[in-house]
């Protein structure tokens, strides 16, 4: 038997005794795990008490009421999240409020049990959370060398990968069923859309590979003295065709040379991303200014555009994986939303930092500083 400690935080005595009764002889077993799980209950009537208990003992599961005499349940949740405790929280809510649910989910709550609950509901919630905890801990063990696979990342990733497949499959089925008749010409739009989706999926896969390469290790880095200006020039050349198509001009402000010890591939990724964004999110006949310079400590890279810019909210999410600003202006522009998160990882790997200044409809400036 493996014992999991459940902390019940609720100021209603009735709830506590109810939970005790239901879980007294309750065990959970999984086909892939030899030992059954059983539960030990600890209770507290306030959030303040709960925090003390969590700090001093290894708790596995918290059943947390939101309405408590002192601090609220969500505040306890916040504390647990901040401390990164390895435990799962189930919120007990008396009225199904989506605001609370969303708030609590964002702060890491694993599930909700509506109050009043019956035996079956409580048992199934405990069963689920046990499985979740178990799998999470197992994954953590498997990936303990820092390659933590985050659930959120995976679910968003599979969303991004499956969406184009669904779209293309949908079109193929429509063709299979001859939904638009027998004339192949009727299907031109479907075919073109399918090709576009496949192309963007290919980009996503390429970005993913970059991303995992950067995530998973510094092994394949080749650090040597290189001329950054050379690499920047190649990046400009490769973006030029797209810039010309969009009537965007690129002005470079480079010194004759700028020698630094670093990995050439990483710099390429940085430049390509910044330039491609500065062109993609620019306006027809816009400008891009690409500056390379140095001060006493740093190499400074600046890419400034006259494009659509970003709102405060978009800006604050900018470096998150798969973040893409969704508005009328960006709808027609394709992208994976991975570019900048890769860029950020690389810059951090080089002990540098990225900053952004941006104004809606005026443009954006990305500035990177990397110490020598």
């Amino acid at each position: 038997m493996e014992k999991l400690k459940i902390l019940v935080v609720d100021d209603e005595r009735g709830i506590l005794t109810g939970i005790r009764r239901v879980l007294r002889n309750f065990t959970v077993s999984f086909p892939f795990h030899d030992e059954d799980f059983e539960y030990e209950l600890i209770d507290s009537e306030t959030g303040e008490d709960a925090i003390e208990i969590i700090d001093s003992q290894d708790i596995d599961i918290v059943l947390l009421d939101n309405k408590l005499p002192g601090i609220e349940g969500v505040e306890v949740l916040e504390y647990i999240k901040k401390k990164e405790y390895d435990l799962a929280v189930i919120m007990i809510t008396s009225h199904a409020s989506i605001d609370l649910a969303v708030k609590a989910t964002n702060r890491g709550a694993y599930n909700f049990v509506p109050k009043p609950f019956n035996q079956a509901e409580l048992k199934s919630a405990i069963q689920n959370v046990t499985k979740h905890l178990f799998l999470k801990r197992m994954t953590k063990e498997l990936t303990s060398e820092g390659k933590e696979i985050r659930f959120k990342f995976l679910s968003v990733l599979s969303h991004e990968l499956k969406s184009p497949i669904n779209a293309v499959e949908g079109y193929l089925r429509m063709m299979e069923d001859k939904q638009l008749g027998n004339d192949i010409n009727a299907y031109t739009k479907m075919i073109n859309r399918s090709i576009t989706r496949i192309e963007s999926m290919r980009n996503l896969i390429m970005d993913m590979l970059d991303f995992t390469r950067v995530e998973s290790g510094k092994k394949s880095r080749t650090i040597q003295e290189i001329d950054i200006v050379e690499i920047a020039k190649i990046a400009v050349d490769s973006i030029l065709p797209i810039a010309i198509q969009k009537n965007v001009s690129i002005r470079t402000h480079f010194p004759d040379e700028l020698i630094k010890k670093c990995d050439a591939g990483e710099l390429e990724i940085i430049f390509n991303n910044l330039l491609s964004n500065a062109v993609k999110y620019n306006k027809e006949e816009g400008q891009v200014d690409f500056v390379l310079k140095k001060d006493r400590k740093n190499v400074i890279i600046e890419v400034k555009d006259t494009g659509i810019g970003m709102s405060e909210e978009e800006k604050s999410n900018l470096f998150k994986e798969f973040m893409r600003a969704k508005n009328v202006k960006t709808r027609a522009i394709s992208g994976t939303g991975l570019g900048l998160s890769i860029l950020k990882k690389i810059v951090e790997l080089n002990n540098g930092n990225v900053t952004v200044e941006t104004e809606v409809d005026k443009g954006s400036t990305f500035k990177i500083e990397i110490p020598f």
């Binding site: 969303v102 989910t105 959120k152 995976l154 968003v156 969303h159 499956k162 779209a167 069923d177 939904q179």
Partner: protein, 127 residues
């Protein structure tokens, strides 16, 4: 007889157009929303008999939020949530529970065939 209309929300333009095609072919009118925000506006301003909403749009749980708002205004209008990742999401979804905090009538994995879709719609609209 008046055609019934269905509100469709999805931020995947291809999927939205495909749904529109199939739903119209089944004899319904459609109202389209390209994202959560647009859908919120359409819920306020448009009249419809049913909604089919994508789960992940601007937010990971856009569909939940929308169906909550929709049900608050029109408790009797059926809502189907569709997602490409029903299996991967951690949300425990039990529409059978009347007290479940997720107020939708049905959750479907994307990739649904037109005949299945027709069955689900007819069942919920009691046709």
């Amino acid at each position: 007889m008046n055609k019934k209309s269905i509100l469709l929300a999805d931020d995947d333009r291809d999927y939205l157009e495909q749904m529109q095609f199939h739903v119209e072919k089944l004899g319904f009118k459609t109202i389209l929303a390209n994202n959560q925000k647009e859908c919120e506006e359409k819920i306020e301003t448009e009249k419809f008999d049913m909604a089919i909403l994508d789960l992940m749009m601007e937010n990971e749980d856009s569909g939940f939020i929308l169906s909550y708002k929709l049900k608050k205004k029109y408790p009797d209008i059926p809502v189907i949530l569709v997602s490409a990742v029903t299996k991967e999401t951690r949300f425990v979804f039990q529409p059978e529970h009347d007290d479940s905090w997720i107020k939708a009538d049905k959750m479907l994995e994307k990739g649904i065939r037109p005949d299945q879709l027709q069955r689900e719609i007819n069942k919920l609209l009691k046709i």
